[in-house]
């Protein structure tokens, strides 16, 4: 068989319909569409408006960035419980530096250094000392939040003297006119979505990031296959920290304050979204599209509770139900395949 012919043969993928049926992203897309249709039918006036969409997507942005952070470490069979508190610490550091009168760039760079330091500590403890990621990042969760609280004594840190553009850019909008209607897209959303798309492409095609999947699927085999496993694991935690840093900058700008209580329990939402999106705690899987769709679904569920006047406390219970449902369906499917 000549190679070209066989490439074409393979590309036809005989059971592509099956494969779509098995694809996590496909089902998440369907469920999201279902949620949109349902909410549009129930609240046609309020739900299906740009204003509402903008609110949903804007609120979703931070969760999305943290969920991407989580997805990355899950791929290497890791875990990062510290995303929420490192977010707070980074935000506090940036705000404090701005308050002290430092220009925007050094302040933000200071935040970056702190976030990366946290990521590097997580990565080194996990990769070089072989401590369970759960424990390492649990310690970081506590430590980062603690430091943030000490630095601020629990107060909001505002920075009235900071340049106007920094205090407003996350909230300001780019206006586009489509079919006579005006739509304002906040920078917050624009930046988040751009980063997501780029990361999605990189994670599926760029070799160093592809290697993360091999490390997570079988670390020992990856090592013998010549992958620099320790280095890749540390990189995953650094990437995670970079997403947290970005979320911190956006949140600090949008809210115009740094605050030690930002992102409390955010790590659990991020973990839930990543897992619903197809990442596994056993490593080796996870996708940006899946995580994005999962975050979107959780955002729609939250929005639905608000619009339908439901008790917001039920929202959290619903997240839990969605999570266990996604995981259970996965387990059933795996059983049947192995069966």
């Amino acid at each position: 068989m000549n190679a070209d012919a066989s490439v074409r043969h393979m590309a036809r993928a005989p059971e592509w319909t099956q494969r779509i049926g098995r694809s996590r992203e496909f089902w998440l897309l369907l469920i999201n569409a279902g949620a949109i249709i349902l909410l549009s039918a129930l609240r046609p006036d309020t739900f299906f408006s740009w204003l509402n969409f903008k609110a949903v997507l804007g609120l979703m942005s931070y969760d999305l960035l943290l969920a991407l952070a989580m997805t990355t470490v899950l791929i290497v069979r890791g875990l990062d419980l510290s995303v929420g508190s490192v977010l707070a610490l980074t935000s506090v550091v940036i705000a404090l530096l701005l308050q002290q009168g430092f220009p925007v760039f050094p302040s933000v760079a200071g935040g970056f250094v702190v976030a990366m330091l946290c990521g590097a500590l997580n990565g080194v403890f996990v990769a070089k000392l072989g401590i369970l990621p759960f424990l390492v990042t649990l310690a970081m969760l506590s430590a980062a939040r603690g430091v943030a609280t000490v630095l601020t004594t629990g107060q909001y840190i505002s920075f009235p003297a900071a340049p106007y553009w920094f205090s407003t850019f996350a909230r300001s909008e780019i206006g586009i006119t489509v079919a006579g209607g005006y739509y304002g897209i906040p920078y917050l959303l624009l930046i988040t979505l751009t980063v997501t798309v780029l990361y999605g492409i990189l994670l599926s095609r760029w070799v160093p990031l592809r290697q993360l999947f091999f490390v997570g699927e079988n670390p020992e085999a990856a090592k013998l296959a010549g992958l620099r496993v320790d280095r890749l694991i540390i990189s995953a935690y650094l990437i995670s920290a970079a997403f947290v840093f970005l979320a911190a900058v956006l949140m600090t700008s949008a809210n115009r304050i740094g605050y030690a209580n930002y992102g409390i329990t955010a790590e659990l939402r991020a973990l839930a979204a990543a897992v619903i999106g197809g990442a596994s705690l056993f490593g080796g899987s996870g996708s940006v599209l899946g995580t994005f769709l999962a975050v979107l679904l959780l955002a729609f569920i939250g929005n639905g509770f608000v619009l339908l006047g439901g008790d917001p406390n039920w929202q959290q219970a619903t997240f839990g139900a969605v999570l266990i449902l996604a995981v259970a369906l996965d387990a059933i499917r795996t059983r049947r395949e192995r069966g």
């Binding site: 066989s6 760029w206 091999f214 020992e220 090592k223 013998l224």
Partner: protein, 493 residues
């Protein structure tokens, strides 16, 4: 007849894997069950032990018609299976494992330890082995653990024991012990069904042999009526000329020189050379330091000392990645734990070490990866012939071929293969041997680490033997005249 199964038929998703197979076991007999991977052995054993339900066919045990729907049914009836993967709890004592969930209790309902220890001792006496029922299972060797599994079956009053590849991870000495136990059980009128790929063992231990091929019964024979060649012919449907390809006898330039390799507590001052055109066999009992030395060589584990030269150039190796850069690739003995990426497809597995090779600006091309996979599927005859099948779904032989392909994709100067054909069917074994010989002839230094004596003698042009972390012999075998005795002697004394 102890067990009589007639016309057993089973299909998965419309794919028939057993076509009306007949199988029986007499009391006091060891019955070998053999066939290439995918021939239907496991399915048959699973049906007879209650793990699967047959679509058609009848089973009678001890003259009574039985229809097991659960392994517990079969166990209660007196049929037990000793699996390839042991199912013992390492942190519990031997006696606890034997009586797990069937603990002997005192009147007050507490575990009666002394009774359990005593009963376990009684079973070991019956088996003629010396194992302390109070020892932790985790502290025993794999061979001993296997015997504990057998004891567990006996404690269940089993009268028929299926042993699935029981010797695949045992040393020669442990195999002897296991065989002594099997003979003892036969003496006591039990039936033993022995599943293995190692023909020499089957000929040694069994009374009758049943061969399956493609889900059909090829035949059941008395072992005294058949030769190894007959059985191979029955298994593959044609006679295999050569399980071990002919040597060329050509010895080229030195490719690898390893000097003074030491590893804490495991390997001491190991020195050897590999030449182009030759295959170096590495023999020794399990735990003698063979695997430990090879892993230390490629930097997979830390070492105390060692210098390496490739093609006369000194190379620094502190990780498998360095080894790969230098042109040395190590293929692990355990394809599931440390070899394959099981839930990834064949294409990804084959390209795992060379993801960046054809990337532009670091971006993967899907086509080169697919092409490389199809190339190796052809070259190594990997079935099914699809780059998209997941490694976990392949048979052992095909998984091994994928594992080798992954190593060969790096285009190494030196290929070190640990147990190249463990748990692999005869067809795949012959093919792997042919390919290894071809690689040697193409000028690649090939090192084969193996516990199978026939493989070492049949493949290697030169054999080094490990004992207690030392190389105790460096034996020439370029004409295939080396005797097993000489190798064993170096390995044990």
């Amino acid at each position: 007849m102890l067990l009589k199964a007639t016309n057993i038929t089973k299909a998965f998703h419309g794919n028939v894997v057993l076509h009306g197979v007949d199988f029986d076991v007499r009391p006091g007999e060891v019955h070998a069950l053999i066939g290439e991977n995918g021939a239907g052995k496991s399915t048959l054993v699973n049906i007879l032990s209650g793990n699967l339900v047959a679509d058609a066919g009848e089973v009678s045990f001890d003259g009574k018609r039985v229809a097991f729907t659960h392994p517990l049914d079969a166990m209660q009836a007196g049929i037990s299976v000793v699996h390839q993967e042991l199912s013992l709890v390492p942190n519990a004592t031997v006696a606890e494992n034997i009586y797990l969930r069937r603990e002997i209790r005192t009147a007050s309902g507490l575990n009666d330890w002394s009774a359990m220890f005593e009963a376990a001792s009684g079973i070991f006496d019956r088996m003629g082995v010396d194992i302390d029922p109070r020892a932790l299972v985790g502290s025993l060797s794999i061979g001993m653990q296997q015997l504990v599994e057998v004891a567990k079956a006996i404690a269940l009053n089993a009268r028929l024991i299926f042993m699935d590849e029981p010797t695949s991870s045992l040393s020669e000495k442990e195999i002897r012990e296991l065989f002594a136990v099997v003979r003892e059980l036969r003496q006591q009128g039990m039936g033993v069904v022995f599943i293995s790929h190692k023909l020499s063992e089957l000929f040694e231990i069994s009374d009758r042999i049943t061969v399956l091929r493609d889900g059909r019964l090829v035949g059941t024979r008395d072992i005294s009526d058949v030769s190894t060649d007959d059985v191979i012919a029955m298994m593959v449907g044609r006679s295999l000329d050569e399980l071990y390809p002919v040597r060329s006898g050509h010895r080229g330039e030195r490719v690898l020189k390893c000097t003074g390799l030491s590893r804490f507590g495991a390997v001491r001052d190991v020195t050897f050379e590999v030449h182009a055109g030759e295959i170096l066999g590495v023999a020794g009992l399990i735990g003698s330091g063979r695997t430990e030395a090879m892993r230390a060589l490629v930097g997979a584990d830390p070492r105390l000392s060692g210098q390496f030269e490739i093609d006369g150039r000194t190379v620094e190796i502190s990780s498998p990645a360095d080894a790969l850069d230098a042109g040395i690739v190590y293929v692990s003995e355990d394809r599931k734990q440390s070899g394959l990426f099981l839930s990834f497809d064949v294409a990804q597995n084959v390209s795992a070490s060379v993801l960046g090779a054809e990337a532009t600006f670091g971006f993967l091309g899907k086509k080169p990866i697919l092409r490389r996979a199809l190339d190796f599927i052809d070259r190594m005859d990997i079935r099914p012939r699809s780059a998209a099948s997941r490694a976990i779904d392949l048979s052992g032989g095909n998984q091994q071929k994928v594992l080798l392909s992954k190593a060969l994709a790096t285009e190494p100067r030196v290929l070190i293969v640990d147990e190249p054909t463990r748990g692999v069917d005869i067809g795949a074994k012959a093919l792997i041997h042919r390919r290894l010989r071809e690689l040697a002839e193409a000028g690649i230094g090939v090192v084969i680490v193996s516990s199978e004596m026939p493989e070492v003698l049949g493949m290697a042009d030169r054999v080094i033997v490990f004992r207690d972390g030392l190389v105790t012999a460096n034996l020439d075998n370029h004409d295939g005249s080396l005797s097993a005795e000489r190798v064993l002697k170096a390995a044990v004394q």
